[in-house]
């Protein structure tokens, strides 16, 4: 498909006001599906987590998963929403093989949560309050694989294969109200919002929150209107934006694409668009159906959900500290500089550093291990640092040995390498590799005396007060001790022995 023409980002923002709206789907990590007892797991053989309910065999009846309702309420509360005292499910009718029922069980006029808000902080420190319209419960659809097309896409496909393992997995769809006033920061705000939702559901442990697995997915609505105009412009809804970078890029692209059309007197078609991260553009999908076309009606097979006040309050009391508050608290407790802290956050290493500090390491030391040596090793091996086979406790143990003077920095790096190589706990690595700072000065003094005796000219210089001459002996001593001594201690002892 030919790339569409774009207006420069600056010109688009100069002429138009950007309005965005975001729909985020969160897959819950319940053990079983939303309406049946099939396992909710990723990566099983196709069609092995299916039953008469989720493949819609005649006569099957759904039943609502209590835990999924609880998680949905928790998400609503975390987003400062009202929880509906009564809500019901609705059938969203459409004919597409990703759901065998020919409808998706969703919520329409009575969502479980509504009217919320969340503060989103941008890189610059600027805070935007995003208003939440609603959060409702629904089910995920099955996975289609198109066969016969050139690239596995629908265009040119001869047939499609359907795996219903994902059909019926509980979803919460969170819908914002239109977001105004972000200006040139609209793409960044969109990505920051999705990141915040992801962090919250992860912290609450209601979702695995892995975007690469589709646990958190975003549809981005974008419209432009001439500055000063009250009426909203026609919007497009870009689907398939499943990474934070994609969210930002897709919103920016739509601003430029729509900007070009509008600036040249054209009109925007209300439609669904697809984002292609590899090619960096969106392409036209189907014209957006009206809600009328879905012919929503109340699901007759499910009774209303009416959470009691007690249940809601119980869930509220069990909410964990929200990630933004936790960050503020940790930054204060650790006393990191802004950049140091941001480095930890952006590397997603808060948990690791916090656990290392809890295990007894000083915050700065913990930070340096994770964002320094360990990040370097992970990077060199093409891994993410979180996947390295070393625990915060082990890092703290190693740091404690450095602090006690039992390991030099260089030896500590050896211990880390040993732990990563699967040689066991730090103590075992130290034992196996013979990495211990020699504290018994006897052997060290012997080596120093020997070195000094073999370099009488150096000894003479030191005795004359030229202490920098000791450097020439330190190397020889370190070599004799195979590096297992602290260089500062060696120097100290050389000066002491030379004066005798």
């Amino acid at each position: 498909m030919a790339k569409e023409q774009l207006l420069s980002y600056e010109d688009a923002l100069d002429k138009f006001e950007v309005v965005i709206g975001l729909e985020v789907h969160v897959e819950l990590n319940t053990k079983s599906k939303m309406f049946c007892g099939c396992a909710n797991v990723f990566g099983s053989e196709p069609n092995t987590n299916v039953c008469p309910i989720c493949i819609a065999l005649p006569g099957s009846l759904p039943a609502v998963n209590r835990k999924a309702v609880e998680s949905s309420i928790a998400i609503g509360l975390a987003l400062d929403c009202q929880i509906a005292p009564t809500g019901r499910f609705a059938r969203k009718n459409y004919f597409y093989p990703d759901l065998a029922k020919n409808f998706q069980t969703s919520q329409y006029d009575e969502p479980i949560a509504f009217e919320g808000k969340i503060d989103i902080e941008l890189e610059s420190g600027e805070v935007h309050t995003v208003l939440i319209e609603r959060a409702h419960m629904e089910e995920d659809a099955g996975k289609l694989t198109h066969v016969g097309g050139a690239t596995g896409r629908i265009q040119g496909a001869e047939y499609s294969l359907v795996d219903y393992n994902r059909a019926g997995v509980p979803l919460v769809e969170i819908v914002t109200k239109p977001i105004f006033g972000a200006g040139d920061k609209a793409p960044e705000l969109a990505a920051a919002y999705v990141r915040a939702i992801r962090e919250i559901v992860k912290a609450m442990d209601v979702s695995d929150a892995k975007m690469e697995r589709g646990n958190v997915r975003c549809d981005a609505n974008v419209s432009l209107r001439p500055k000063g105009q009250e009426k909203l412009g026609t919007r497009t809804e870009t689907k398939n934006v499943n990474s934070l970078r994609s969210v930002e890029n897709a919103v920016r692209y739509e601003i430029q694409r729509q900007g070009y059309i509008l600036a040249n007197g054209g009109t925007i078609t209300q439609e669904t668009r697809h984002w292609h991260e590899d090619r960096g553009h969106t392409s036209s999908g189907r014209p957006k159906s009206d809600a009328d076309d879905y012919r929503y009606f109340p699901e007759p097979d499910l009774v209303p959900v009416q959470p009691s006040k007690e249940w809601i309050e119980e869930i509220r009391a069990s909410l964990p500290e929200m990630p933004s508050l936790r960050r503020r608290r940790l930054q204060e407790e650790w006393g990191f500089a802004e950049l140091e802290f941001r480095d930890v956050v952006n590397s997603d290493l808060l948990d690791q550093v916090e656990d290392t500090v809890k295990a007894g390491a000083a915050p700065q030391a913990a930070r340096k291990w994770w964002t320094g040596e360990l990040a370097r090793i992970a990077n060199a091996e093409n891994l993410v640092v979180q996947d390295l086979s070393i625990t915060p406790l082990q890092v703290a143990q190693i740091q404690k040995l450095i602090d006690a003077g039992d390991l030099t920095d260089r030896m500590a790096r050896d211990v880390v390498a040993g732990v990563l190589a699967g040689e066991g706990e730090p103590a075992q690595v130290i034992e196996k590799r013979g990495l211990k700072v020699v504290k018994d000065d006897g052997a060290l003094i012997e080596a120093i005396d020997k070195a000094l005796a073999s370099q009488p000219d150096v000894l003479e210089k030191i005795r004359e007060g030229k202490v920098q001459a000791a450097g020439a002996v330190i190397g020889a001593v370190m070599q004799a001790m195979r590096g297992q001594v602290d260089a500062a201690r060696v120097r100290e002892l050389i000066l002491e022995r030379a004066s005798k």
Binding site: R66, R88, Y94, I154, L161
Partner: protein, 98 residues
Amino acid sequence: MSEITPDTVRHLASLARILVTEDEVETLAKELNVIVDAVATVKKAVSGDIKATSHPIPMANVYREDVVEPSLTQAEALSGAPDSADGRFRVAAILDED
């Protein structure tokens, strides 16, 4: 009181993925109008103070616990499918979606 036009029928048929001939469009429009009119008659009998009811029995909060139960085997799941391949249901490719 006719609400169902031939265009409405064509639109509904395309949403429902049903192939409808032009002759059928005319017939269906007429038949559907009879049904819509009949429902409209029922509507007249209902006064404004009666709330729409989606469940005749006042019942709420029927849940199942979050427990995994046995699923069908892949062979069982596919046993009723007209066509399958690679452990999956095989269906005609539908364009312009997904």
